[in-house]
C-alpha cells in the first residue's frame, strides 16, 4: 500500500477558555487521507471538525501528535520551512477571506508574490490560468465587493490553487452560498480533483455537500473520529453505521446514487 498523502497521528488540541476551563477540541485523532481522495469531515457544530482541519496546515498547532503532509512532518519544521510547506496546501474558507482592497488578479497573485522567485510575466500567466480554471478570467480587474458569493469563493479557489498545491483544504466552503451556487461550486471542486489530481479535505455540516462529492468521510463527535467509511462503494452500503450522522449520510448517499442511476437511465 502506498504512503498516504496526509497522515495525522494521535493529534490532540486543547483550548483554554476565557473562564479558565479547558476544552478538548481534538482528542487523539489518527487519520489517513490518500492521494486523490475527496475526504469529508462531518459533525455537529462544536464537534471539533474545523479545528481538526486547521491542524492539517498547522493554522492550529496540535498539543501532541504528528501531522505529515506529502512526506513532511509539519510540527517539526522551522517557521521558514513551514511557510514553504504551506505552498503545497491550499485552503478556502466559509467567509472567502479575500483581500477587499485588492483586485481579483492581485488576490490570486498573492501567494505567488509572497514566495518570490517568479517574474511578473510568469505570475500573470499563472494567475490567468487559475482564473480560467474557475471561469473568472473576465473578472480579473474587478474588486471582490463587485462579485457574488459564488464568484468570491471561485476567486478563493483560484488563489488557493495558484501555487500548485497537492492538497486543498475546504472549511465550510459552501455554507455562505445558496443551493444552486453550492452545486456549481462542488462541481468545480470535483473537476479540480479529477483534472489536476488535487486531494481535497472538506469540512461541512451539510450532509448533501459531503454526499455529493466525497469518496470517504469521517464523522467527528466530541473531538474524536466516531467512524470513518467510504461512500459510493457497494460494500459500504451494507456495513452498519455506528453514528446517527453516519446512517443519515449513508442513506443520503444511497438515495443520491439511486437518483443518479435513474437520471442516467432517463438519459439513455
Amino acid at each position: 500500500m502506498t504512503i498516504p498523502l496526509i497522515r495525522i497521528e494521535h493529534a490532540s488540541k486543547t483550548f483554554t477558555l476565557p473562564d479558565g476551563g479547558r476544552f478538548d477540541a481534538v482528542r487523539h485523532v489518527s487519520l489517513d487521507v490518500r492521494q486523490g481522495d475527496i475526504f469529508g469531515l462531518i459533525g455537529k457544530s462544536g464537534a471539533g471538525k474545523s479545528t481538526l482541519l486547521r491542524l492539517f496546515n498547522l493554522l492550529e498547532r496540535p498539543d501532541a501528535g504528528a501531522i505529515t503532509v506529502a512526506g513532511r512532518e509539519l510540527t517539526s519544521l522551522s517557521k521558514r520551512d513551514l511557510r514553504d510547506a504551506r505552498r503545497n496546501i491550499g485552503m478556502i474558507f466559509q467567509q472567502f477571506n479575500l483581500l477587499q482592497n485588492a483586485t481579483v488578479f492581485d488576490n490570486v497573485a498573492f501567494p505567488l508574490r509572497i514566495h518570490g522567485g517568479q517574474k511578473p510575466e510568469q505570475i500573470a500567466a499563472r494567475v490567468n490560468q487559475c482564473l480560467e480554471l474557475v471561469e473568472l478570467g473576465v473578472k480579473a480587474d474587478s474588486y471582490p465587493a463587485q462579485l457574488s458569493g459564488g464568484q468570491k469563493q471561485r476567486v478563493a479557489i483560484a488563489r488557493a490553487l495558484a501555487s500548485g498545491p497537492a492538497v486543498l483544504l475546504c472549511d465550510e466552503p459552501t455554507s455562505a452560498l445558496d443551493a444552486e451556487t453550492t452545486r456549481a461550486l462542488l462541481a468545480t471542486l470535483r473537476d479540480i480533483n479529477h483534472r489536476l489530481g488535487v486531494t481535497i479535505v472538506i469540512v461541512s455540516h451539510e450532509l448533501s455537500v459531503l454526499a455529493e462529492i466525497c469518496n470517504r468521510v469521517a464523522v467527528i463527535e466530541d473531538g474524536a473520529i466516531a467512524e470513518e467509511f467510504a461512500l459510493n462503494e457497494p460494500a459500504g452500503h451494507n456495513a452498519p453505521r455506528k453514528t446517527a450522522l453516519g446512517r443519515e449520510l449513508a442513506a443520503f448517499n444511497a438515495a443520491n446514487t439511486l437518483a443518479g442511476t435513474h437520471r442516467e437511465a432517463a438519459h439513455v
Binding site: 511557510r83 477571506n97 508574490r113 509572497i114 465587493a145 483544504l169
Partner: protein, 230 residues
C-alpha cells in the same frame, strides 16, 4: 466686502497690514505640522503595528511587551500638551538646539503625536477581519508580508482618516506651541487677537484655521473614499 467687515468692527486695512506676518505664520504652522505628522507616521505607525501584533490573540502575542508599550503610550498621552511642552524643554534643546521657534515646538508636537497615531493605527488594524490574516498565514506569508500586504492594504482608508483627524487635532495643538515662541497661526491669534484685543486679526486667523481644517478634512475624505474598495 470691506464695508461688511467694517460693520462687524473689523478693519480691512489692519488685516492687510498683517498679511506678511500671517504668511509667515502659515508657513510656521505647516512646518510644525509637517514635522509632527511625519514623526507620527514614521515612528507612531510602526509602533501602532507592533501594539497590534503583540496584543492577545494576534500572531506575535506577547503579554509583557503589550503591557509595557501600552503603559508607555498611555502615559505620554496623559500629559496635558502644555505641560509636555514645558517638561520637554531640555530634551527639545538637545534635539533642535534651541527651545524657541517652530522647529523647537515641533519636538513636543511629535512627542505627543507619536502615541496618538500609534493608538489609531492599532485600532484600525483591529478592524481587519481575522479570517483574511489567517488566509495569508495559510498561504505561507511571513509576519512582515502580512503587515505590508494585508494589514496596511485592508486598513488603508481608515488610516488616511486617522491621519486626517490627527492633522486637525494638531493644528490646534500647534497654537499652544505659541507659549514657547513656536509661532504659527494659533500663536498669532493669541498674541494679537487675545492679548491685544485686535479682533480683526483674531477673526482673520480663525478664518484661516477654518479653511485649513475644512480643506484637510475634505482632502482626507476624498482620498479615503477613493482607495476604499470594500
Amino acid at each position: 466686502m470691506s464695508e461688511l467687515l467694517s460693520t462687524l468692527g473689523v478693519s480691512f486695512n489692519a488685516i492687510v497690514a498683517m498679511l506678511p506676518e500671517m504668511g509667515t505664520a502659515v508657513g510656521q504652522t505647516l512646518t510644525m505640522l509637517g514635522i509632527g505628522l511625519s514623526a507620527a507616521v514614521l515612528i507612531g505607525g510602526p509602533l501602532g503595528i507592533v501594539l497590534f501584533l503583540v496584543a492577545d490573540g494576534q500572531s506575535l502575542q506577547n503579554r509583557p511587551a503589550a503591557l509595557v508599550l501600552g503603559w508607555l503610550v498611555n502615559t505620554v498621552r496623559s500629559f496635558p500638551f502644555i505641560i509636555l511642552l514645558v517638561a520637554l524643554v531640555p530634551f527639545t534643546r538637545m534635539i533642535a538646539g534651541t527651545s524657541i521657534g517652530p522647529l523647537a515646538a515641533a519636538v513636543p508636537l511629535s512627542f505627543a503625536a507619536i502615541p496618538y497615531f500609534a493608538r489609531m493605527v492599532e485600532q484600525n488594524l483591529r478592524e481587519v477581519p481575522r479570517g483574511v490574516i489567517e488566509a495569508a498565514h495559510a498561504m505561507g506569508a511571513s509576519e512582515l508580508q502580512i503587515v505590508l500586504r494585508v494589514l496596511l492594504v485592508e486598513a488603508r482608508s481608515g488610516l488616511v482618516l486617522a491621519l486626517t483627524v490627527l492633522a486637525i487635532s494638531f493644528l490646534s495643538y500647534s497654537a499652544v506651541a505659541g507659549v514657547v515662541g513656536g509661532g504659527g497661526i494659533g500663536d498669532l491669534a493669541i498674541r494679537y487677537g487675545y492679548y491685544r484685543f485686535e479682533t480683526d486679526i483674531m477673526v482673520a486667523t480663525v478664518a484661516i484655521l477654518i479653511i485649513m481644517v475644512q480643506l484637510t478634512q475634505f482632502t482626507g475624505n476624498r482620498i479615503a473614499k477613493r482607495i476604499d474598495k470594500r
